[in-house]
């Protein structure tokens, strides 16, 4: 392409080179590690509700701020060590994921009017599932699977008398971990 007039084939080749570089830029192994971390957190946190509602509640009360802050710190440090400053992307992530604690706090008001706890659980799963799904739309497609798996808990809580939360936790774990491992493998081959 360096000489006078480029052909359309040469231009297309150059664009493919740029596209590959941009694709590598879209995702890093740290992003996938963060998805794996939350796959495990969801597996433990959701399964706990089948053993003790109180333990599940306490787990999330601790896990959300601790792992949330941890993820934020991890992502910020990643930017610095990997040589990337992207304030806009950071702000979009922060705005997107803080929707979970905000709407969870609001969802607690469902309880105040004496709603069935199962119904409250279903509402919470729908909210978080939607946030994860939209995370897949905006950031990384794998979150779509995690979001659908989380929201599927609405079905299991209606149909099953036992192990509905554990099943939701396992499905959410798989919905996040399988795409993360798949993407990581693809990155390795790229």
């Amino acid at each position: 392409m360096s000489t006078s007039t480029p052909s359309s084939a040469e231009l297309a080749q150059d664009l493919a080179y740029v596209r590959n570089a941009v694709h590598r830029h879209t995702l890093s192994r740290d992003d996938l590690a963060i998805a794996l971390l939350w796959a495990i957190v969801n597996l433990i946190g959701l399964s706990l509700y089948d053993w003790s509602t109180r333990a599940g509640g306490l787990f999330w009360l601790t896990a959300l701020p601790v792992f949330g802050a941890g993820t934020w710190f991890w992502a910020a440090r990643r930017g610095l060590t990997q040589g990337e400053a992207n304030r806009d992307l950071g702000q979009r992530h922060a705005l997107h994921w803080t929707a979970i604690p905000i709407f969870l706090i609001l969802a607690n008001f469902v309880h105040l009017r004496g709603f069935d706890p199962v119904l409250a659980g279903q509402i919470v799963l729908l909210i978080i599932g939607l946030v994860y799904y939209l995370g897949g739309v905006h950031f990384w497609r794998g979150y779509c699977f995690g979001g659908i798996a989380l929201a599927s808990g609405v079905i299991w809580l209606s149909l099953l008398d036992q192990w509905a939360w554990t099943l939701t936790g396992v499905l959410t774990f798989l919905g996040l971990a399988v795409p993360a491992l798949w993407s990581s493998r693809k990155m390795g081959h790229a």
Binding site: P6, S8, D14, V22, L80, Q82, G83, A85
Partner: protein, 113 residues
């Protein structure tokens, strides 16, 4: 009609930015357009270029006023941060539009005389 087509192609070719005719330089601008700033090592990793080649392309873009460089220390290591300037962003947008038009027209590399 074919003459008109040739004229259109020639006109579009004139819209290509000479500085961005190199795929490495175009790649650098495309990546910098997606972030506030990227370090030399991050650009090298993403573009899979050698130190020497990447350094040369960055210097040309810097001399053209398309990008700026800021050097600082991160964890006691010197890091060069590159950022796209408004002139670079405008040039890249125009260049990409011209490329798209050329690909659409199916330019075969003939000389625009």
């Amino acid at each position: 009609m074919p003459e008109n087509g040739a004229q259109d192609t020639a006109r579009t070719l004139n819209l290509l930015d000479p500085l961005l005719m190199h795929k490495g330089r175009l790649g650098i601008c495309a990546l910098l357009a997606r972030a506030d700033a990227l370090s030399f090592s991050r650009l090298k990793e993403l573009l899979e270029e050698s130190d020497g080649n990447l350094g040369a392309q960055l210097r040309k873009l810097e001399e053209g006023g398309y990008i700026t460089v800021k050097k600082e220390f991160v964890n006691r290591k010197p890091v060069s941060w590159y950022a796209l300037q408004e002139s670079g962003r405008t040039a890249m947008t125009g260049h990409l539009s011209a490329i798209a038009a050329l690909i659409e027209s199916g330019s075969d590399g003939g000389s625009p005389e």
